[in-house]
């Protein structure tokens, strides 16, 4: 063999996930990097700097990991497909705790068995147990069969959950070509979909998205009850809050705010009127067991903070 062999290991799970997140950031970072006061406060409120003892309070990233994990609560033996590091940690946490039957891939074509609690990830994935084979053609079959719940990124998302990851501007000649629609159209009409937005802002939460990739509740309603029967948007987890569509008209609703974030912060960072019930609860904090799993087993190197940096 004459060409270099940089790495024979299967790519880590972030391989595929990184695509959507980076693309989202590519777009977001195009404009002036506006540091939102709410973001700074949220990051500060959730005690930063984890002590080596693991006894410090939860960081914002850890609150987000648990909020993402909650998206898969109640899901049985279905494929959890997280896009992005924090959703990946969330899905793995859900599998280790309250949703043990979830299926997870290595980001390539293998399904990995649920690790034993306490197993630290070994270098190069040694010790992992393959429980199944899921090449792309079978992923598509799982999608069509409805045996999947994906958490995707969103460069733009509107009030009814229409999402855009394709491009920004006029589709015919975009101002910024992003990833393309990828699997979002099929995902959104076939199985539950959630979203992860690491930077909640008016550039993401917009009145109208440029290219509808994943479809929202208004578009689904337009298809009629039969065609839309598998459409379900669960939650949107952001760095500020958790949102859902549990309203009579299926418009986006503020479900909970992260520690240190106010309802007003979220409203200010959202580019359309948000349904805000009286007394929005705080996003639940990680339990001691969850924190131990995140810090000791799932992400001992603390990469999770970088996704919010």
């Amino acid at each position: 063999m004459t060409t270099p062999a940089p790495d024979r290991r299967p790519s880590p799970a972030v391989d595929v996930n990184k695509v959507l997140i980076e693309e989202q950031q590519t777009y977001i970072h195009e404009g002036p990097a506006g540091e939102s006061p709410a973001r700074a406060r949220a990051a500060g409120a959730a005690a930063p700097g984890r002590a080596a003892s693991g006894e410090s309070g939860p960081s914002l990233a850890e609150v987000c990991v648990v909020a993402c994990a909650e998206a898969w609560r109640g899901d049985g033996a279905i494929l959890a497909s997280p896009m992005g590091l924090i959703p990946t940690l969330g899905a793995r946490l859900a599998q280790l705790t309250f949703s043990p039957r979830l299926l997870l891939t290595d980001g390539e074509a293998y399904l990995l068995a649920r690790p034993d609690p306490g197993d630290r990830p070994a270098a190069g994935g040694a010790g992992r147990v393959v429980e199944g084979w899921l090449p792309y053609r079978r992923v598509f079959t799982m999608v069509a069969a409805g045996l999947r719940h994906v958490m995707m990124g969103a460069a733009q998302i509107d009030k009814f959950g229409n999402q855009n990851i394709s491009c920004i501007g006029d589709w015919a000649r975009p101002r910024a070509q992003l990833l393309g629609v990828r699997g979002a159209p099929g995902n959104s009409v076939n199985h539950p979909v959630s979203y992860w937005v690491p930077r909640h802002s008016r550039r993401v939460f917009v009145e109208r998205v440029d290219v509808v990739s994943g479809i929202g509740y208004d578009r689904a309603a337009g298809l009629g009850p039969r065609a839309a029967r598998f459409h379900e948007l669960r939650v949107i987890v952001t760095n500020l809050a958790v949102l859902d569509f549990q309203t009579t008209d299926r418009a986006m609703r503020l479900r909970s705010v992260h520690p240190g974030v106010t309802t007003a912060d979220v409203i200010a960072a959202t580019g359309f009127p948000l349904a805000v019930p009286g007394g929005v609860p705080a996003t639940r904090l990680p339990t001691a067991q969850e924190l131990a799993l995140i810090r000791g087993q799932l992400d001992p190197d603390g990469l999770r903070d970088q996704e919010l940096a």
């Binding site: 062999a5 790495d7 693309e23 015919a172 393309g180 159209p185 076939n190 479809i215 689904a220 039969r226």
Partner: protein
Amino acid sequence: MSPDDVAGELRSGMTIGIGGWGSRRKPMALVRAILRSGLKDLEVVSYGGPDVGLLAAGGHVRRVVSGFVSLDTIALEPHFRLARQRGTVELTELDEGMLHWGLLAAAHRLPFLPIRAGLGSDVPRVNPVLRTVRSPYADGEELIAMPALRLDVALIHLNRADAAGNGQYLGPDPYFDDLFCLAAERAFVSCERIVPTAGLLESGPPQTLLVNRAMVDGVVATPGGAHFTSCVPDYGRDEPFQARYAAAAADPGEWRRFRAEYLAGGEASYQRAVRRFAESQAGVTAPTAAP
């Protein structure tokens, strides 16, 4: 056959399907041969990676048919991005599953296959040619009628093949390479190594034999022929080189230098330049994990 022989079989204006996925097991030696050709106005059907980017940058492509064009570990293919933003390529943008279905329809010689993906999204808006079809059964459900994606030629890269065109993948994912071959009038397979037919099953179990000689019209041995995309277990993606490629693509001067260094000569010259790059990397950075 040589990669240039394969390029010689193509004609401007053809619809070419390219196997692999993103920056994984792409027939890059065959793509590089097209870069050296005068072929123009190609319609490229692909789960797109640097194949699409390079062909667009070289001015060989009129239209791309895809659901994405990505380098996997680098989210956006820089050349494709530029081409779209400058309006120099046309795009048929499809859901990933629709692309699969279009290839399957073509492989089965069907005019279309019904699919749910795409309904309600802007995919029909940006593809006004798309139609829906209503189930003739009691449910009456309306679905997208995904038209067959018929190809003039398919180009794929596999780990092993015999000289007759029986091809074998040894990595974890076949991608859609068999469908690309069946959807095409003619299919060409490049591979890391041509082995005797009797040697095929020494490398892997029978289900690794992805394509057979009825689906294949020509075989080319191109060691390193998927570089810089991955071709596991023979080699992984060359991440330092891919990063070099992406950085060069972002700057016209750098891109001229990249072209002169890597793409001006034939395949042997490319592989030599890649070895030089690997040696220079070994000198300045941490080793990229010896196999």
